[in-house]
């Protein structure tokens, strides 16, 4: 129950201390527990969604983390755009369980490390139909690699979500990629336990596939392209973290039957138990 506006933590450390919308790498310490509660919204040309989301994360060991996220949907879009899996899905009221495996980590200096994390997850929808299509369970896989230091951060990742067929109908798949650059200004370089703030520029590229209607045919035969970008901010103090941010469309090459997005907003509160 940790994500909603944000993803689980970490990290180790997470550890919930990364970007809000993009893929990240930190995992929790062995035995570490993190709780995230988030409020998120998505605006389209015709409607707005509001949702709360909760994410619980647990560190099996320092490189392996399990997550469970559940939503409370306040207002659901009637015809939602496809958004990626995991916790950052303001148009997607799925319940999701996921496993993060940090398969590479190289801490090579004070505060500095390179690391890579693989993610697999399975989701169950909380609604019967998403737009005009019956929605079924889905699986999600992603991989992310990144650099962290006391000043600069960068994460690059990509993933794929696949929805299973239900009664001859099927939501289109969703390949996506994310790039995040982070920076901590000098003024926030105070040592622990002083508050720790950082700013991110996040970008997300999504390529939603066409859904299959009840007749078994695809609504359109090309893959959409969407690029979103925007700022997010993360503040950390002791066991608490707060992050907030927004993504705005830079490019939307999608079928005319799908709504165009105006924004994605997220506010996330993290607590490391």
């Amino acid at each position: 129950m940790l994500a909603v506006l944000h993803l689980p933590i970490n990290e180790n450390l997470a550890q919930g201390h990364g970007p809000l919308f993009g893929l990240q790498t930190p995992t929790l310490a062995k035995g570490g527990v993190d709780f995230n509660a988030a409020a998120m919204s998505m605006g389209t040309s015709s409607d707005e969604s509001y949702m709360l989301r909760y994410v619980w994360s647990y560190g099996i060991n320092e490189d392996l983390q399990i997550n469970l996220t559940t939503p409370t949907v306040i207002n659901r879009l009637t015809n939602p755009p496809r958004t990626r899996g995991m916790s950052n899905m303001p148009a997607n009221g799925d319940i999701e369980a996921s496993l993060w495996y940090r398969f590479f980590s190289n801490a090579f200096g004070v505060g500095k490390r390179f690391e890579s994390t693989a993610i697999i997850g399975a989701s169950a929808p909380t609604e019967e139909r998403r737009g005009e299509t019956l929605v079924s369970n889905s699986i999600h896989a992603a991989i992310s690699t990144g650099y962290a230091s006391r000043i600069w951060y960068a994460w690059l990742g990509g993933g794929y979500q696949y929805y299973f067929e239900k009664n001859n109908e099927q939501l289109g798949d969703l390949p996506y990629g994310s790039l995040v650059i982070g920076y901590r200004p000098d003024i926030f370089m105070g040592d622990y336990p002083k508050p720790d703030w950082r700013v991110f520029i996040e970008s997300l590229a999504e390529f939603p596939g066409s859904s299959k209607s009840e007749t078994g045919v695809q609504a359109f035969d090309h893959r959409g392209k969407k690029v979103m970008a925007g700022p997010s901010f993360l503040g950390l103090y002791g066991a608490w973290g707060v992050s907030f941010g927004a993504l705005f469309p830079m490019y939307q090459g999608i079928d005319q039957s799908l709504p165009k997005e105006k924004y994605r907003l997220s506010v996330n509160l993290s607590y490391w138990l």
Partner: protein, 162 residues
């Protein structure tokens, strides 16, 4: 002379048993970039029996540990805690007391199933002052490979306190 040797031996046995221990450890930690990282590590150390005080510095990349009297902690346990929090432990500045012994491999101090072997780059003036028997000293324990937490360390002694 024989009596003196027996006394030294008995003192050594006492110190090597109940009193041989780490007293202070400044453990270098790599890869720790944020407040929750420091919070998690601090919490991990506070759970360990035998640690009296913990201070974690993100900017220095060091966990400053003061150990309780009569603790049974080892540097290996300390470095395992760093690893289980997802970070990399490196060199450690330590204050320890134990029994200094000399064998064919040089000087060594054993305590709590760990052995600290004197590194050859220790200054000559310190080398010349070494004597077998109980000792309290400051030193730098050299960096070790993370994936194989050691029970044998190399130490460069910087000061003999007792």
């Amino acid at each position: 002379m024989k009596k003196l040797s027996i006394i030294v031996l008995l003192m050594g046995m006492v110190i090597n048993g109940a009193n041989a221990q780490l007293l202070k450890v400044d453990q270098a930690v790599y890869g720790m970039d944020c407040a929750p990282c420091a919070y998690g590590l601090e919490k991990g150390f506070k759970k360990m029996e035998g640690i009296e005080a913990v201070k974690v510095s993100l900017n220095d990349g060091i966990a400053y540990l003061t150990l309780a009297p009569e603790n049974g902690l080892t540097l290996r346990k300390i470095q395992e805690t760093v690893k289980s929090n997802g970070f990399s432990s490196r060199s450690a500045k330590v204050v320890l007391k134990g029994v200094l012994k000399q064998n064919e491999n040089g000087w060594a101090i054993s305590m709590n199933d760990e052995t600290f072997l004197l590194n050859p780059d220790t200054e000559n003036k310190i080398l010349s002052a070494l004597k077998p028997g109980p000792v309290k000293l400051k030193g730098l324990v050299m960096d070790q490979e993370d994936n194989r937490p050691a029970s044998q360390w190399k130490i460069r002694i910087s000061e003999i306190i007792l």
